[in-house]
């Protein structure tokens, strides 16, 4: 297509949505499967705390392999591709421009899934690199990087040839995320996943920098960029204050990037000190985002009915909570208690499953009917998905955070033996496993909606194909032409 033609003709949203149908089904479908895989692996890892002998005879399913495989399957398998799918749709809609090179993201989505399969399989057979959040072996890292670049080409092309020239705050966040991932992933992979490893404490420093930039900054950029698009759209009010949004964006990118080095890390003291300093300053973007959300959402007259609005609002609340937990675990006074406990795990899971996943679910439920041109097959199950996931996240994360504080206090007390200090957390772990189960059930409902919708669409395609074959010749040609146009 020639992007310069029809520049001044408004492009119907239906045409834009149609161009995104196949890429988004590919991205969302793969993401839904990996979410289930990740949550099942996470559940297996969780059960091992109640029954250590559970599946302990299978080397592939021992805790040391299942736990990182679960984290990576959720982050690389679900969060990133689903986030990219939402990003493509939002960028195309804001640009008033059908997706440029729509087949490229389809190829990339399949490539990405192969990368995640190799990576997760690699961890399970014991080929992990050992660096948290960068466990995928080299082959998987190369594939993921290439797939991301392909999607980025399509997204950047859509943005570059946009018909609506004015920029909206979501643009800043999403476009920054598009550049952020290739930068951090190539840097960390080249330094930690090749044969020219730097020696000594430089390795964990690079690992912490990467993990923070992916799990905190990248997810925040995509999640908040998405929320800033959908909240005003659903509430029918304009987004409150471009000044707040600009300041939130700049401070998030500037200070967020150097958080992540634990307060008592055995590296030269200026590194954790600078990191704690930056973590203190990230209170500013968190505060600004909370204010924007409150101003945009309140007084809109839209009540929460378990739909996309609910998902996204809940996601932003989780973002604020997880951000404050992140600051607390970086602050030297509180980190002394919280380090080496469940608290950090709780914060990460809140970031992944509470904040990011909830916003992506909400966005997907908003987008899917539009790109498919019809309602969801099971809208009631989507509502149930919200209550299952929101309840599941609360049950999963809150007990773990409390367990972390209790465990930290017990570890600080020299009169309590190490095993007893860890034993304190057991009753909390039992509740959190229930939460994991609820989140998994919700994810199954999400996958059900997507796959039934995809199958219905494929069935309709086959039907129209049969009809076209059966029809008299000239009409059939006309119909095929029409299909090509759509």
């Amino acid at each position: 297509m020639n992007p310069n033609e029809n520049t001044f003709v408004a492009c119907g949203s239906s045409k834009i949505d149609a161009s995104l149908r196949v890429p988004l089904l590919a991205l969302f479908g793969g993401a839904a499967v990996w979410l289930i895989v990740g949550l099942v692996l996470g559940l297996i890892a969780g059960i091992k705390f109640h029954a250590p002998e559970f599946l302990s005879t299978i080397p592939m399913l021992t805790y040391g392999r299942v736990a990182p495989a679960a984290n990576d399957a959720v982050l690389y398998g679900f969060c990133i591709p689903a986030g990219l799918g939402v990003m493509l749709w939002v960028l195309a809609r804001l640009s008033q421009m059908p997706l440029v090179l729509p087949m490229v993201p389809v190829v990339a989505a399949n490539l990405w899934n192969i990368g995640v399969l190799i990576g997760t399989g690699g961890i399970l057979i014991g080929e992990s690199t050992g660096h948290p959040w960068l466990e995928y072996p080299r082959a998987a890292a190369v594939i993921l990087f290439a797939a991301f670049l392909l999607i980025a080409v399509s997204a950047a092309g859509t943005f570059g040839w946009r018909r609506e020239r004015a920029l909206y705050p979501s643009h800043w966040f999403l476009f920054a995320a598009l550049l952020w991932f290739p930068w951090i992933y190539s840097t960390a992979s080249l330094l930690l996943n090749t044969v020219w490893l730097p020696r000594g404490v430089v390795q964990p420093v690079i690992g912490w920098w990467f993990a923070n930039n992916l799990v905190f900054v990248w997810l925040a950029l995509v999640g908040i960029g998405t929320a800033f698009y959908f909240l005003p759209k659903i509430s029918g009010k304009p987004l409150a204050g471009s000044g707040y949004a600009l300041f939130a964006f700049l401070t998030l990118v500037f200070f967020g990037a150097w958080c992540g080095i634990p307060a008592s890390a055995p590296v030269p003291a200026w590194l954790p000190t600078a990191s704690a300093f930056a973590a203190l300053l990230t209170i500013i973007p968190i505060l600004a985002i909370a204010i924007i959300t409150i101003k945009t959402v309140f007084g809109s007259g839209v009540s929460c009915q378990g739909g996309p609005f609910c998902f996204i609002k809940f996601g932003v609340v989780c973002f604020v909570l997880s951000g404050l937990m992140y600051v607390a675990s970086a602050c030297p006074q509180s980190s002394r208690v919280l380090e080496f406990t469940w608290f950090g795990f709780a914060q990460t899971q809140l970031q992944l499953l509470g904040f990011f996943a909830l916003i992506i679910f909400g966005a997907a439920y908003e987008i899917l009917p539009k790109i498919m041109g019809g309602a969801l097959p099971f809208p009631k199950l989507a509502k149930l998905h919200f209550f299952l996931t929101a309840g599941g996240v609360l049950l999963f994360v809150i007990p773990l955070a409390i367990a972390g504080v209790e465990q930290g206090k017990a570890l600080m007390n020299p009169a309590i033996a190490f095993a007893d200090a860890n034993g304190v957390t057991l009753k909390f772990l039992r509740i959190s496993t229930t939460g994991q189960l609820l989140i998994l059930l919700g994810a199954l409902l999400f996958a059900l909606n997507i796959f039934v919708m995809t199958m219905k669409w494929q069935l309709a395609l086959v039907k129209s194909l049969i009809a076209a074959v059966k029809a008299p010749l000239p009409e059939a040609t006309a119909q095929r032409d029409q299909e090509v146009k759509v």
């Binding site: 239906s14 705050p169 005003p232 949004a245 200026w270 300093f277 600004a288 439920y365 809208p379 509502k383």
Partner: protein
């Protein structure tokens, strides 16, 4: 618009969200500057501006300095111990008790706790061979000039260390004393025998 998921609509031409134009509010800039100020104070007092040698829980090079042994007896003993354990302790043992058939004890040895340091300092500088009595035990071994390669300060510190450790309570050896003896015997002196050693002034 409602949040009912079953009523998601697919309008032909939906409007895209807009943003109210505003400047960055002053109060949030002020809060940022205040946090920057206190964060900066914390970084200044705890980070030591990129000092590669400073680790947590220490907060500055000056504080770290207070934990180092000062010049004087403690520093000499620390240096002496380090030199002793890399050079002498391998045979004589880090407890100074020696090893049977390999090296005599230094703890309580009459050759170590002499009044002067002349004879003692000759042993590591020149080496010793042949029959020797230590604490009433007969030895017949040879020790090369193991201390000749050490700088004067380090050898003096190591000798001070063996003269005041493991119950030994003899005086200090200075670097000048070692330097003078080294100058007197010259480069690569022959190993001494017990008789030659006893002929030297104590």
């Amino acid at each position: 618009m409602s949040d009912d998921i079953s009523k998601r609509c697919c309008l032909a031409n939906e409007s895209e969200p807009t943003v109210t134009r505003s400047t960055v509010p002053m109060w949030i800039i002020v809060v940022t500057l205040v946090l920057l100020f206190f964060g900066g104070l914390y970084f200044d007092s705890h980070g030591d501006w990129g000092n590669q040698k400073l680790y947590k829980p220490f907060t500055s090079a000056e504080q770290l300095e207070t934990f180092q042994p000062k010049s004087g007896a403690a520093a000499v003993m620390a240096q002496g111990r380090a030199s002793y354990e890399t050079v002498c302790g391998i045979c004589h043992g880090s407890d100074g008790m020696g090893k049977p058939g390999q090296a005599p004890a230094l703890a309580g040895s009459e050759w170590v706790t002499t009044k002067g340091v002349n004879r003692l300092a000759h042993i590591p500088l020149a080496g010793i061979s042949g029959p020797l009595q230590v604490k009433g035990q007969n030895w017949n071994l040879a020790m090369a000039a193991m201390g000749a390669a050490l700088p004067d300060e380090n050898l003096a510190a190591a000798l001070t260390y063996i003269r005041s450790s493991w119950g030994n309570q003899a005086g200090e050896v200075t670097a000048d004393e070692v330097r003078n003896i080294r100058a007197a015997i010259g480069n690569s002196p022959p190993m001494l025998s017990r008789e030659q050693l006893l002929a030297l002034p104590e």
